[in-house]
Structure formats: structure tokens, C-alpha cells
Symmetry: C2
Subunit: 262 residues, 2 copies
DNA sequence: CTTGAACCTCCCGCGACGGGAGGTCGTACG
DNA sequence: CGTACGACCTCCCGTCGCGGGAGGTTCAAG
């Protein structure tokens, strides 16, 4: 650690080449005071010292971890004596990165599904695909991020076949109810009471251990149905040949009346 | 699909509540022409139709997948007849997301290491930690992303113990060379020739199957050493009690001369 | 002394809005 | 019928991390 007067200094271009940071960025760092060259020549040209360059390397590393320039400025201002701040920031950044990675993974999965559906031409109608997009958004409007995550976890835990089986069972119930609605079966008939009980147990597999959470999810689902009955009914009936668009609202209303009658 | 004159229309505030999109954002979408309400009242208030709201849901879903508003505008402009564009965009987005997730995973690992080192107080000197940051940046300056990934893959494939063993073996070689340098052993001595051979085989475990890639990595490493001898030497010697800061350059030069003498 | 590269400052632009100022409109209530 | 208040309107500045251009000065080599 010897510092004599003849210390080496570099022009902004040389520094740019050495560090791989563009000249424009160096100007920017100087402007905001993040890395200012130790001195200027008489004519105003920037002269960077070895210590400036080291600071630049630190900035680059921290930028690489996703810290903002402001955060970097604060940790580099106090860091010599205080590593705790830096540690906390890095730890926070780590948590943020992991959360982001998890979100990205969920999105990737959803996207793979969608692209797969498009490729398999399962959904030949363009309108139908766009409607799928709408439903995704509606779904996200009514359920919070945690709720969606919770439901997604449950689904993957149960496995695709189980989920598919549940869907089939639900459709079977819908068909049975449709018949009862058509027949005008009274709401206190033991048969429809049994069907309603099965209806309610279906969701149990997706329930979380926390009952309060379940209530919130049920409430969100109810609100979704309340506000978007038509779209949902249209969409589901369009994929089945035995269900008319206005069947589902009638069925849901009927089920509700059965519940009340208990 | 019946469209009578008495179609339902909503004010911007109602739409905001229904979709969860802020009023400000609705203004923005109108401004850039992404979602314009079907009409205005005489006084200029926006009136959104059901079809506008559906478009908003589509926009929100696509935004959720990370598409830009411009991309969304193009796919929604042509999408009714052309799902291929949308498919390609989603597929591209999927690839981008996966790449990003992979990068996030690498960064997380690096960050966990760093935070772990800070917590374990392995590195009590603040300066030393900041120097670590500098080295990270330098490392990234000289090796390309693929090269770093390649090296990281090799390291994880070999396992921590093997890597540690390699490090130990290398240190052993360095100590042996240090002695030979001190003794002035001639560069054509079979003992130093053997040591140099071992030196060279050490890196082989990290080599890629592609020889050209190896050459590039070696070149990058050489450039790094050329430009940052001092920092590296200082850093390594500070962690060992038997190595002076100026030993390593001498040793490297000696090894080079042994190589030339062959 | 000239030429061309490197350097300087100043300023507009991006993407997707947030937020405030300052004005108009709609409607419910007194 | 007036008035109060909330909802709505347009216009414009700010964000973050620079990129890039204009228009001028300085440096180093020939």
C-alpha cells in the first residue's frame, strides 16, 4: 500500500475498455455521483485512478446481482466499516430473486400449457383461445397471488389424472342436476340432497389446512361466478354438446336452493 | 350474438373496479390506442362496452405473460384470423422466461454463497469482501456468459470435494514451485518438468469436449492474469501464510519458462 | 499545422405507467 | 334551484438506467 505522487491514471476510454462499461455509462455514474473520477485534467478530461476502477468493479458486481444504483451507492458509502447493511441488502435481493424465479417457473408452466394447446390444435377456434386468455385474467382478478399458488400446489400434488377425474366427476354431477332441474325434482328430495353433498365434497381435495383460507377462496370463487356467470357458462357449454349456455346458471341456482333447504 | 341498441356500457371507474386495472392505466391504453372505449358521451366521458372489457382482459392476461403493449397490440389486431403469430410470440416469451429463470437460479446460488460467507464470518475483513466483489466483476468481464456457465456446470458435475481437492493439489504445486524458484532450479530439470506436466493436467478435468472452446477459455484466463496479476496475487497470498504477494507472478513466469524450454 | 480520434456538455428518448394540477361534469341533497 | 362533492377530463412532469445524437473542444500523431 504505497501511494506516491506518480499514481497511474486512465482516460475514460481506457477505463471503458478495461471494465467493459460503456463510456456513456461512466458519464452517467459520474453524473449521479456514484463513481466520480479522482480528478480532471485542466481541460476537463476525466482521469480515473486504480481505486476508481476498483469501485467500478464493485458497482458492476452489485449491479449484476440486481441492486439499484441507489442501493449500491448507499452500501459503497458506508461499507468499509459496515458489512451488515450489504449483507442485508444481498439477502433481500436473494429472496426477491428466488420469488421472481418461482413466479417465472409458474408462468413458464402456464405458457407451456397454452402453447401446447395451440400446437395440438385442441382449440381450433381463435375466439375460443382468446376467451381462454380472458378467463386467465378474470381468474387472476378474483384470486390473490397466494391463493393461486395454493391452488396450483394442490393440483400438482394431486396429479393430472386425479384432477381430470375430479373434472369428470363434476361433469357427471352437472348432468345429473340438469336432469333433476328438467324433471322439477323438489329441492328436499333425498337424491338431490345426496348429489349436493357429493358436490361439496369434491372441492375438499383442494382445500388448504387453514379453514379461513378456504373461506376466502370460496368467497372469491362465488364472486367470480356472480360477476361472470354468462361468460363461464357460455365457455363451458361450448365444449360440451349436452349443455346449453343457460343451463349452468339454472343448475347453480337449483343447487343453492337445495343447500338452503337443508 | 344479438346486438340491440340498448347494449350495456360502463364508465371508466366501473371498468377499473371490474378489471382491477387502474383508471390511469385505462387512460394510458386509450392514449396509445391499445384499448379505446367504443364511444364517448357528449361531454367526453368514456363509455366502455362488454367487448372493450373483454379486450382488456386479453390485454391483462398477455401482460401477465410479460408481453409488451406493442406486441399485444399486434397480436390483438390480427389475432382473429391468425393464431400463429400469437403462438410464436408466446413460445418466444416462454423461451425468454426460461432463460431468465435459469439466470436467476445461477445468481441465487452465487448470492447464497456470498451471504453464507458473510454470515460464517469466514471473511472478517470488509475490504476482503469488497475485493471479492471486484473479482466477480473482473471474472465476468473476461469470460463470456456461456463460458461461465460451462465452467459452473463442470464444477457442479465434479462436486465440491473434487473441486476442493483440485485446489489443494494446485496449492501443493505452487509451494513446490516456490521452492524451486528459490533454489534456482534450472528450467530443464526433469523435476520441474514433471511438476509443469501435473500443472497442466489439473485443468483438464474442467475442460469441455470442444477443444476450440477450451482454447478460448484458456485465452480469456491468460488475459485475465495478464491484466490483473497484482490483484490476484495479493488476494491469494493474503489467504495463505506461506505465500508473499510477489511470489505468484515469479512462479507463473518460471512455469512459463519451463514450458518454453520443452 | 493539420487531421482525425477522443473527449466534453446538453438534451431527447425509451416503457408503462404514477401522480398532481387545474378544470368540467353528473347527481344527490337541502 | 343552487350547491356540494365525487367522478371524470386533459396536460404535463417524474421514474430507472442508460442509448444516442448534436455541436463543440482537446489530444496525439504525422
Amino acid at each position: 500500500m504505497h501511494e506516491d505522487g506518480a499514481e497511474q491514471r486512465w482516460s475514460i476510454g481506457e477505463v471503458s475498455r478495461r471494465t467493459g462499461i460503456t463510456v456513456r455509462t461512466l458519464y452517467h455514474y459520474d453524473e449521479i455521483g456514484l463513481v466520480r473520477p479522482a480528478r480532471r485534467t485542466a481541460s476537463g478530461h476525466r482521469r480515473y485512478t486504480a481505486s476508481d476502477v476498483r469501485r467500478l468493479y464493485r458497482v458492476r458486481a452489485l449491479r449484476g446481482f440486481g441492486l439499484s444504483l441507489e442501493e449500491i451507492a448507499t452500501v459503497l458509502a458506508r461499507s468499509s466499516d459496515d458489512l451488515a447493511t450489504l449483507r442485508d441488502l444481498l439477502a433481500a435481493q436473494l429472496a426477491a430473486l428466488e420469488a421472481y424465479a418461482a413466479r417465472a417457473a409458474r408462468l413458464s408452466e402456464q405458457l407451456r400449457d397454452l402453447v401446447g394447446q395451440l400446437d395440438a390444435a385442441v382449440m381450433p377456434e381463435p375466439d375460443q383461445f382468446l376467451t381462454t386468455l380472458e378467463m386467465i385474467s378474470v381468474y387472476e382478478t378474483y384470486f390473490t397471488e397466494e391463493q393461486r399458488e395454493q391452488l396450483a400446489r394442490r393440483r400438482t400434488a394431486l396429479g393430472d389424472e386425479t384432477v381430470e377425474a375430479t373434472k369428470m366427476e363434476w361433469l357427471e354431477l352437472v348432468r345429473a342436476f340438469k336432469q333433476h332441474v328438467a324433471d322439477g325434482t323438489p329441492v328436499d328430495d333425498p337424491r338431490v340432497r345426496d348429489l349436493t353433498a357429493r358436490w361439496e365434497t369434491i372441492g375438499v381435495a383442494y382445500a388448504s389446512p387453514d379453514p379461513q383460507e378456504n373461506d376466502q377462496i370460496s368467497a372469491a370463487a362465488a364472486a367470480l361466478w356472480r360477476d361472470h356467470q354468462e361468460e363461464i357458462s357460455t365457455r363451458i357449454s361450448s365444449q360440451l354438446d349436452w349443455l346449453a349456455p343457460d343451463d349452468l346458471p339454472k343448475i347453480m341456482e337449483y343447487v343453492e336452493r337445495v343447500r338452503q333447504a337443508r
